[in-house]
Amino acid sequence: MAEPILQVRDLCKHFPIKSKGFFKKRVALVKASDGISFDLKRGETLGLVGESGCGKTTTGRSILRALEPTSGEVLFRSGPDEVNLARLPASELKPLRTRMQMIFQDPFSSLNPRMTVGAIVREPLDIHGIGGKAEREEKVAHMLEKVGLKPEHKSRYPHAFSGGQRQRIGIARALIMHPELVVCDEAVSALDVSVQAQVINLLQDLQKDLGLTYIFIAHDLSVVKHICDRIAVMYAGRIVELATTEQLFENPMHPYTKALLSAVPNPDPDQPMNMELKGEVADPGNLPSGCAFHPRCTVCVEGCRSAVPELVKQPDGRTVACHGVTNMGEPTPTGGTPPEEGKGRGQCASPQEGSRRKE
């Protein structure tokens, strides 16, 4: 578990918005993901959470080079070598595709309706030319069993399966190459509660069995809490807080993380929710100046409007990008109310120290 399998450094993916007409002048730049940095240890599950449009899917896809990153590094360690996925020529990328895979959100549109389940799950083996015909069939049967389907299902078509079973097919297709890194993009979001629990359990079992490393992209915080070791909260293309699951849920530090947690409806009617966040998610094509969250933030101070906050390491090891947290260890309202006492968070984190996360 010592060395990271993946090191993402300052990854950016910007989409230019071009005007209509002949010259296609660039009128705006959507910074879908902007300056994303994190390390991922082998066998770990990192959650990427945030609301729609925050760039979590773009980040996941840029890491796998399903999208060409605009800049930044994605250092992927496979065996003894470390490669920069962001700069690798396409010819060298293809063999690495077996080491990293993706599980998609919608089990209805991510499977080709005209291919049998066997063909869908076998396709990666065909593409990479692995094994003979009999060996491939055997692998497919084995994989189907592993995800809780029956080998005889392989001659059927996707329409014959329920949503949960289809998601299992998608998982089998992703795992048949024995990847090391799997990006699960909202892998359980489209499923009903009773089936969702089964698929979450399956993903966790497979992780243990096959030693997988997950990047788990989701908007449902209770699911993320259940499956992830560490969580990166994203807002408007940037990571605003990166912490272990316990730290994040027990003591969220960034005001956006706090709001996000308080917005989850609790299934206990005696725990009323109290979400104070006003306004809407920032328009990614026209971000507010400074900290993109400042127009919605309840503890916004003067500096928030002008300077973009860097991710700063906190005494407990997490990183937070918030001027309020950086300056006083705990954000204070504009009125200058002293920080809440008795939380054992008195020390200030020096803003110079480790302004970029290092481990």
Binding site: D192, A197, P265, P267, D268, P269
Partner: protein, 345 residues
């Protein structure tokens, strides 16, 4: 919550009795709703909850007679008791009658799930809201516009005078859902049907919309039928709950009772399989198998193949179990419920 104690004091505004809605397709008869009975009490939020395909949306569509071929209401009654008016059985109304026309969008209105598709893309939101007002009320166009602006303000849209002339594409998802809510409430309906009103929204926006629905219900006294699959939303918003499975209600009662002490094995399984923020990291208890197709509804209790307490020769035989009273306010449909109660002490 003292109002909850006086059951007799709260009258039923909508009584659904033994409703059956079948769809006649090439694969055969599909019993989407098969004998659903429940009452909506005046001024309260009643939630219909269940997984996809359980018939919750079909039930709500039946109330406005929006079931289209090959579907048909084949039995049962839906009795609407307007405030100070004569009770009317919606299922008995003629498809083209004025009475039904006046109910739709007038006395009973609906919020749909997708704020993208529920609004016309080629009309301004003001025009769409005014249409509802002009259809149901005797006012001039200027007055209708006034009312539309007032309503937009009430649902929390900033700058309603400006927004009223905008098109839906100029608004975010949360704003659009507010417009849909404004449109549904502008004729002061007695019953509001909200079909998955927050499912397409982000959590922070969902929380805002939930707050809005609750506030409007308190201020306007609208009786609301909330259709959702999200048990968290149910717990936070509803007063009464009915849990559906394969076209039937399996358990119903006040929200606190159901969420804290579920009696039916399906409700229990559903609640247990929720990964909650409070729970410790462990394996999630899940319900075995998946929801069967409506063309292959199991015999006996429809839940028995997935039920951990199912007993051979009891649960898989005969007709589906009827709803039985557990207490004044609670019912559940399970033949073994007393055995299970006894086993749990």
């Amino acid at each position: 919550m003292s109002q909850r104690d006086s059951k007799a004091g709260v009258e039923s505004v909508l009584g659904i009795k033994d409703l059956k809605v079948y769809f006649y397709t090439e694969e055969g008869e599909i019993r989407a709703v098969d004998g659903v009975s429940f009452d909506m009490r005046r001024g309260r939020i009643t939630a219909l909850v269940g997984e996809s395909g359980c018939g919750k949306s079909v039930t709500s569509y039946s109330i406005l007679r929006l079931i289209q071929k090959p579907g048909m209401i084949v039995g049962g009654s839906i009795v609407f008791r307007p405030n100070g008016g004569k009770a009317v059985d919606v299922t008995a109304l003629d498809e083209k009658s004025d009475e039904l026309f006046n109910l739709r969008g007038g006395k009973i209105s609906m919020i749909f799930q997708e704020p993208m598709t529920a609004l016309s893309p080629v009309h301004t939101v003001g025009n769409q809201i005014c249409e509802a007002i002009l259809l149901h009320q005797d006012v001039t166009e200027d007055e209708a516009r006034e009312r539309a602006i007032e309503m937009l303000g009430k649902v929390g849209i900033p700058g309603p005078e400006k927004r009223v002339d905008q098109y839906p594409f100029e608004m975010s998802g949360g704003m659009r859902q507010r417009v849909v809510i404004a449109m549904a409430l502008v004729c002061n309906p007695e019953i509001l049907i909200a079909d998955e009103p927050t499912t397409a929204l982000d959590v922070t926006i969902q929380a805002q919309i939930m707050g809005l629905i609750k506030e409007l219900q308190r201020d306007l006294g609208t009786s609301t039928l909330l259709i959702t699959h999200d048990l968290g939303v149910v717990a936070q918003l509803a007063d009464d709950v009915a849990v559906m499975y394969l076209g039937r209600i399996v358990e119903q009662g006040p929200v606190r009772d159901i969420m804290k002490d579920p009696k039916h094995p399906y409700t229990q399984g559903l609640l247990k399989s929720l990964p909650s923020l409070a729970m410790e990291k462990a394996r999630l208890p899940s319900i075995e198998g998946s929801v069967p197709s409506l063309t292959e509804i199991p015999s006996g209790c429809p839940f028995h193949p997935r039920c951990p307490h199912s007993k051979e020769n009891i649960c898989n035989m005969g007709a589906p179990p009827p709803l039985e009273n557990l207490s004044d306010e609670r019912t559940a449909a399970c033949v073994r419920i007393r055995d299970l109660e006894a086993a749990n002490g």
